[in-house]
Amino acid sequence: MKKTLAIVLALAMLLGSIGLAESTVEVYTQKLLDAVPTLEKSEALYFEDGLNITGMGVHFNSYPTEFDGCFYFPAIEKMTGAHIGIDWRVEDNYGTQVATTLASSNLPDIIQAGDYGISALVSEGAILPLDDYLDLMPNIVAAVGENRMADWREADGHIYTIPTIVNVPGSQTVQVRKDWLDALGLPLPQTWEDWMTVWRAIRDNDCNGNGDPTDEIPLALEQGSSGERSMASLLNAFGIKASSDCQFCVLDDGTYTMVYEHPRYREFLETVQAMYAEGLIDQQFATRTQSELFTIMDTNLCGTAMTWAERAKLSTYANIDAGDADALWESVAPITGPYGDQMTQERAAVTGLWSITVAAEDKIEEIIKVFDWCFSPEGINLYNYGIEGVSYDWVDGKAVMYPEVVANGFVDYRAMGMQYEPFGGAWQTEAFMQGLFAGVALEDLDPGAASFYNGLAVVNTGKFYAMPQTLETEEYTEYRAELITTGVCVLRDQCVAGQITVDEFFAKYEALKAQGLQEVIDAGTAAYAKLVGG
């Protein structure tokens, strides 16, 4: 009895000590925080009398906040004298939270529009145009680049935001269960016919080996935030260069319009409708949220999908952990369409993030200078690598992060506060790659991690198209909910599911145009022409 008690106590103490041991993230978070007082004042910018900037923005769970001891904001304050205090909000219903803030008339100095929309903030008269201050932000202008200025501007031609810049074109990729294809004796698909063969084979066979040959989903489609994204991979296969929400595209003659105006759209719709009827497309495509997509990828229920490249690694690991040792989600090149089109959306490099509100009109120049400093070499290093001697060192003129910092890929790296995406900045591809490889050489990556890398940097190379942004014109803002998300998107999905015919779809689409959708199209076309024309 005494022996058993002693063993139990010893085990409890051992487990307790393991629990109490500081994680790498905690150790480095503290190290970085401890190093903040040692930072030198920036020679490029320092506010001797201090500067206080208040803000409101969206926070993602994978990052710490300043309240959790994140080094990033104290470091900016130590180096520039500017205190940035952000009221971080959760992503859910962020638009409603912005509305509440507007209604209170108690605006912070800087604000993220989030799903409230920049054009809606402009329409409220809540934010200031920044066009007249470009000379105060040379680093930001240089980071955006001359050829991407149009991406920075809003539909009315003005600049209202401080951007975040990600110079990594890949993000999403088509993924296939390679082990299923091997078991079926099929090669990776190259042509449209190959893809159809693969999808039919997945539909007709018990690929997951659970004894039920009917539960495999050949092609799973993700719904997106409001149902707009689900068709991206197939639209691209039909040569339709759609915007991120799959509602707009640029035609070959350079006209910006809705995807439904594309000469191939009818054929696309007929094909997808037939695929749905044949059981090749996820029957739940209209309700399949991203987390549900991940669930079916992790649980042997689908054979092909298009989603974040990182999922190739995570879902492979999930299936292996569940006992399927051969599981592999292989990242492959975009689906080739019936006419040989093969393309995928390039991640938007320039994304507007922070707007300066009318409440900060008297200190707009100072705020812009702080943001511009974040895009300076000093700011970029702080954002991407942390603090020299603490999280990275210079080796042959290159910043190299310590192995412990990137040992767990992006997970720990971000949890320590680096590449602080909720605040934004200029992502450095080099830092991104160090996080991606987690200190392992390319040839040493396991198949899941290699698939992630391939999805980001290999299989889509040369197949990216510059994704047109969704131009938030006044007309778009006014009619979006009524005529787009609950209008034409609904008709499209009803048509795919066979609830209405393709002809009925187009008849109803024309009726929506008469209700105001034509105004949205015309305003978008005009705004795009103006933006591209400079």
């Binding site: 638009g95 507007l102 006014e478 609830q499």
Partner: protein, 320 residues
Amino acid sequence: MNAAAKNREPKQNIFNSKRVRARVLQNIWRNRYIYLMVIPVIIYFVLLKYMPMWFLRSAFYDYKLLKGFDSKFVGLKWFERLFTNPNLMTYIGNTLKLNFAALVLLFPAPLVFALALKELRSKRFMKTVQTISYLPHFVSTVVLVSMISTICSPDYGTLAKIAKMLGTKPISFMTIPEYFVPVSVVSGFWQSVGWESVIFYSTLMGIDQVLYEAAKIDGANRWQQILHVSLPGVANTFVLLLIMHVGQMLNVNFEKVYLMQNNLNLSASEMLPTFTYKTGMESHNYGYATAAGLFNSVVSVALVYIANAISRKVGETSLF
């Protein structure tokens, strides 16, 4: 003084009498705690029900949150847009369809359940059933809808598994418009029948036992006691609740409907309250949303009047 002259004499304001005033004040002081308890309710109604009515004016403005009523006045623009919206009748139709189904199938269910509970002989069993039936009421709408989605999922849902066991193809209940109302009503039945039976049960318990004794002496069996004592005893409560329910007919269980919506069932699930929400909170068109909400309220008031009038004529019981 004759009676006619007495009637012509100006009525004396009873509050002029010091004695009466003192008695009223004394009464208030004696019941001060009850009056205190009423204050939060009054504050609630003033702040959240009456004061917002002042903002109904925004239906006539291109309302901007920062500008308030300095926003541009647009007159009846939003009402014109609402009434020329070709989908308006579909929204109203969907709303009424769901509520009518709920009225017919769900509204009498708590009464039947309460009657059944009352007839149970074992008090312990009755209390157990009562407690279990209350529990679903405390499940949040978000959890309820995710439970519905999981149960109805044709990939891994319980219903799909049963269908496969029976050798049939699973039905995608959440994406076929025809199933929207049945799924909503059945899940509503599970969630609300226990809780909503509380009012009927307490009314039934309040019926004088002497009436039952008298019925027994007259030879009434249990069924006849229900028919001739219990049901007349709850009739007034039933009618009052029915009128109030009719008044809420256009105010569907918004959260549940909104969460159950998807592009494939929207032809059956888009209703006036969800349309109003999307117009206001997703499109930030507050004026238009207020106009839609105001229209919703006006129709609701009309429905209350109609239900009240019918009830007064048919059942001789009414709310006002």
